[in-house]
Structure formats: structure tokens, C-alpha cells
Amino acid sequence: MTPELAKTLSHGMRRIRTVEETIAARYSEQEMRCPTHLSSGQEAVPAAISAVLRPTDLAVSGHRAHAHYLAKGGSLKAMIAEIYGRVTGCARGKGGSMHLIDEAVGFMGSTAIVGGTVPVGVGLGYSLMLKGTDDIACIFLGDAVVETGAFYESLNFAILKNLPVLFICENNFYSVYSPLSVRQSHIKAIHEKVAGFGITTQDGDGNDAASAHEIITKTVADIRAGKGPAFLEFSTFRFREHCGPNYDDDLGYRPDQFIEGWNAREPIRQFETRAIEDGFLTLAGIDQMQEEIENEVKAAFDFARASDFPPAGEASQHIFANQMKGSWK
């Protein structure tokens, strides 16, 4: 740990948290009119990854993608505007919260079908292999994704071709209201099942930004060095309901003890307490950082709300492209 890294991780987590909590606070205004999956509580892993990846690395994600998009450097303004359905949104209002994209920083897209971007990420990895750079493709996935056939098909191909692909599984133990126990056999943990394929795997504490950062740093270095794909599993905890702005622990689908245990390991406080003790952060520094973040977030919401809606005619545009937009070089 260094003061700089501590600041980066703290800032990364606080920024994600502030964005998500601001969305939660304003969602009931009925101006953000799309299904929205918040990452509050799950900030440590994205913040850690953010500190390791380069803009030329590529990433894809799923329905709960705000944190991943931000971690990869995606434009905050464009994301908030997208959730507000404005033309300044990263998908011009076409896709909403679940469809984020910022190719300029390598965030190649998030989509709404569980597992749907896993093969896309592997295909991006294939393109990087062909180009021969040491960039990597990073695939964010939840614990339900390892129930999809597409995941195993993709895994097999990534290993077969020794592709520069990092699979990051954030295991928050639930898929909507469903615990792991009704979906996956408990005989082996997720990372153990995957390890059976002969890919490098590791599991870590997804609420500990410092150790996550360490694991990710080493793993990414190995991938860049041509050692092939890797799979990381981080256990973590989502604060709010699966989709939407509220807490839903009154529904009783997560045991009280489980909730309390995880709340005690809230990632930001946990990290900062230690970092302050170790002299890497100061309370004053954190306060100033938080203020800057709040200003940035407020500006993003102001930007979004001041932005125009897309003109009605855009509803029927973009069905077909008229020209090639990417290049292999």
C-alpha cells in the first residue's frame, strides 16, 4: 500500500457509492424510468480493478454495471444522462442503466441478459491476441453467470486459445431473491468448479479493497505476460434490493446473521479505518475527497437533467449501421 494507492482505492469506492446512493435517493422522483441495479456495498472490487487496468484494456459487463463502467473510466455524465433517458447518454437514451458503453476508455458494453457478454468478452480477448498487444479483456460477472452454458463454452475457448482474458466473478450469494443453495451445488465453490478446467483461479474477499488489489495486480500481470486467462472470485454483499432503489431486507430472503456479518465488513469504512491507522489516509483528506466527489456527482445529475431528451425520430434510427466503425489496427 502507498498513500497514492490508498487514495485511489478510497476515491474509487466513494465515487461509486456516492453515485449509487444519489440514484437511490432520487429514483422515486420517477425521472429515471428504467430498471436499475445498484452496486452499493460492492465497490471494493471495481475500485481495485480500476487501479490496475489501462484505458486500452477492454471490458464488458452485465445488468449491474454502473461500478464496472465507472471503474473502467466511463464518463459519469454520460452514464447518468443515459439513466435519465437523455440524448447525451452514453447510448443516446436507447439502452438505459443496463446498457452502458464508453469505447473511448475500453468499456465495450454491458447488456441485460445474464451471461450474454461473457462470450463477447472472450471474442474481444481473441481480437487482442490477434493484435498481439499486451492488453487484456476483462469480463465482469455475477454468481448466477456460472449457471449459464455460455459461460462454460466461453471458458473452454479462452483456455483453448490461451487468450488474455480476466474473468471477475463478484459473488454476492444471491441472484435476485434466490440464494446460491437453490441454484448451485455446494459441493464445490465457484472458483473450484472453474479450476477444474485448468485455468488459474483464486478467491478473495470482495469487501477488502487492498487484498483484492493485490490479487488483481498479480493476476493481470500474469495475463499480460501471456500466461493465459484467469478467473477470480470475490465474495461480497449488495446493500439494496436486486433492482431498484430500496432496501428490501424486510422480505426476509437473506438471513439476519448474513446481513449483519456483511454490514460489519462494509468495504469503505473497513478500508479507510486501516489506511488511517497505517497513515496512508487522513480524515481531512477523505472529507475533501468526498466533497469533490459530491460536486462531481451533482454536476453529472445537473448535466443529465439539463440535457435534452432524444428527438422522437431517433426511436427508429440506428437499426442498421451504414459504415464500419471499428478497426482492427
Binding site: 447510448a91 436507447k94 441485460a112 431473491y177 441454484r183 426511436a315
Partner: protein, 348 residues
């Protein structure tokens, strides 16, 4: 007053209770929210072996439903959106649809696949597909699209106890629809329902479009234009007789569908009616459907996306060459355009 969702739930309950070989499973089936209220308490009542949650494995779970059916059971599999079931097209079309045929009638596959059709409030492109024409195009699948809350239970019971695979499409905007009457009896698949009578135009509709059509037809009736309104209820088998009888009377057809226009079910209905009612047709048969592009997320882009009662009324006016006022329809609208009613506040 009972809702469409209540009726679905009671249909499942009745099937589970009447026949120990009925199984109900799908993502979220035993949830506290019970798939929009349609599966509430069923696991408590019938146990974890007959009513259960599942992994996010839509393809295999469809094959597992087929296997359980071959093992003598009657599985009902639920998808919270049709869009997720695209993962299971192989099992649905290569196995379920063809099993009875390709094994020479040896064995039937009595499975029911509930798929919910999303719409509005930011559902966006991959949460709002209405791909009924895919299923209807495939011999061996029955396709049921209930519209009225009073039909929901009867059609579901008929689907569950039909010896064939049935795709049961529930429009999300119908779950809160209300009814006073309802039936405990299966409604035979393949019988459309004449909801309104008149001789101006034959309006044929499916699923949620029937709600908009009822609205339009009733308002027009007050303006002196009476239409036949036929709720298709099942797309396959389809009740051509009822449609043809009506078109032969009115000479005019307006078909309403929730899906994309081109190569959709409306095209088939226009084509068939043209073939079979040629000499009765006074006008080319017409259709109002979703356009040939996806529903966007931003509410600014969905205002004119869906066909609403006012469009139907205006179209009927055009087809009958009579002046029509859509004011009464517009005046009755309470909720924003992207929700089925004020009760709906998201997130999905």
C-alpha cells in the same frame, strides 16, 4: 375483484392440486414476490419437489422439463421475460416441438412454457420482445396469448393439460387487469372470442392489444361505428372460422399485434384472409403493430412506439371513411404513456 395475476396463480394452484404430476418451476417461482404474484405460496403448499426455483440455465431447464414430461409429469416452466427464453430455442424447437412428430407419434411432450412479455418504463430492447411469430411458425408448438383476466385461468389450465408443448405468453401490462367473472374450467385452445359485435370492421387482436382495442371499439360504438372485435386467445391453433365469418360480413379486416410488423403474425393473418375471403374484401386488410425496430429505454423514444386505442380508432375511421373523435379516449388517460396504470411505479 380479481386480477389477471391472481387468476394465473389460481390456475397453477388448481392444476397442482388436481393432478399430482403437475410441476411448477422457474427463476423466482418461490420468491417473496412470486413472479409478479403469479406463484405466491405455491411452494409452501406443494413442497420443494413440485414447485421450485432454478439456476439461470434456461436452455437446460427446458430440456429438463421435456425429460420430466417424458417421465410422466406435466411441467410448467416460467420465464420472467420472453427474451431470456431465446436461450432455449434449441430445446423448444428441435426437441419439444418435434418430439411427437419425429418419433412417429410415440410420445407427446406436455410442457407449458410461460413467458412474460415486457413493455414500457425503460424495459429496453432485450426486455420487451414479442416473438410470438417464431413460435407460431413452428409446427408442434401451441401458442396462447391471453388478454382478458377472465380468460387467464381457463387458458392456462387448458395449456397445462394439453398433451403438447404450449407457449403461454403473458403480457406484463395485463397482470394487474381486473375481472369479476372467472372460470375454473379449461378454455379449449383454438377458440377465439368475439368480444364485441358490429358490421363496420373486423378487428382481430391478441394479448394486451385487446385491451386497447376494447377501449377503441367501445368509444367508436358511441360514435355510431360498431365493429366485430375478435380476441384471438390462441395463435396456434388459430380460429380461422371465426375470423373468416366476420370478414365475410364486414368486408374489412384490421389486425392488431404487439410484435414487430414485418414477418410477424399480422402478416400471416392478412395473407390468409386475403386468400380465403378475397371476394368479400372491400379494402386491403390492414394491420397495426409495433414498428420494425426495438422499443428504446428512454421514455422520450417510446411515446409513439406502441399502438394505442386512439390509433386504432383513427384507423377504423379511415377504413370506414367516417369522421371519428379520439378525444374521449385521450381524456380518459390517467397514467404516463410508459406504464399500464398509475399503480405501476417500477422498477420493472
Amino acid at each position: 375483484m380479481r386480477t389477471f395475476a391472481n387468476e394465473i396463480r389460481d390456475g397453477l394452484d388448481q392444476a397442482l392440486s388436481d393432478d399430482p404430476s403437475v410441476l411448477v418451476f422457474g427463476l423466482g417461482v418461490p420468491d417473496p414476490k412470486g413472479v409478479f404474484g403469479t406463484t405466491l405460496d405455491l411452494q409452501e403448499k406443494y413442497g420443494e419437489k413440485r414447485v421450485f426455483d432454478m439456476p439461470t440455465s434456461e436452455n437446460a431447464m427446458t430440456g429438463i422439463a421435456i425429460g420430466a414430461a417424458l417421465g410422466g409429469f406435466k411441467p410448467v416452466l416460467t420465464h420472467q421475460r420472453l427474451d431470456f427464453a431465446l436461450l432455449s430455442m434449441d430445446q423448444l424447437v428441435n426437441n419439444a416441438a418435434k418430439w411427437h412428430f419425429m418419433f412417429g407419434g410415440q410420445r407427446n411432450v406436455p410442457i407449458t412454457i410461460r413467458m412474460i412479455l415486457g413493455r414500457g418504463r425503460g424495459q429496453g430492447p432485450p426486455h420487451s420482445q414479442n416473438q410470438q411469430s417464431w413460435f407460431a411458425h413452428n409446427p408442434g408448438l401451441k401458442v396462447v396469448m391471453p388478454a382478458l383476466a377472465s380468460d387467464a385461468k381457463g387458458l392456462l389450465l387448458a395449456s397445462i393439460f394439453d398433451p403438447n408443448p404450449v407457449i403461454f405468453l403473458e403480457h406484463r401490462w395485463l397482470h394487474n387487469a381486473q375481472t369479476e367473472e372467472a372460470t375454473d374450467m379449461p378454455i379449449p385452445l383454438g377458440e377465439a372470442k368475439l368480444l364485441r359485435e358490429g358490421d363496420a370492421v373486423t378487428v382481430v387482436s391478441v394479448s394486451y392489444m385487446t385491451i386497447e382495442a376494447l377501449h377503441a371499439v367501445d368509444v367508436l360504438k358511441e360514435q355510431g361505428i360498431s365493429c366485430d372485435l375478435i380476441d384471438l386467445r390462441t395463435v396456434t391453433p388459430i380460429d380461422w372460422a371465426k375470423i373468416e365469418t366476420s370478414v365475410k360480413k364486414t368486408g374489412k379486416l384490421l389486425m392488431l399485434d404487439t410484435g414487430f410488423k414485418s414477418f410477424g403474425i399480422a402478416g400471416e393473418i392478412l395473407a390468409h384472409v386475403t386468400e380465403s375471403c378475397w371476394s368479400s374484401l372491400q379494402l386491403p386488410p390492414a394491420r397495426l403493430t409495433a414498428p420494425d425496430y426495438s422499443e428504446s429505454t428512454s421514455p422520450a423514444l417510446t411515446k409513439d412506439y406502441h399502438v394505442r386505442a386512439e390509433h386504432i380508432a383513427a384507423k377504423i375511421g379511415e377504413m370506414t371513411d367516417k369522421p371519428v373523435s379520439i378525444e374521449p379516449i385521450l381524456n380518459q388517460r390517467g397514467a404516463a404513456h410508459d406504464v399500464p396504470g398509475t399503480w405501476f411505479t417500477g422498477p420493472f
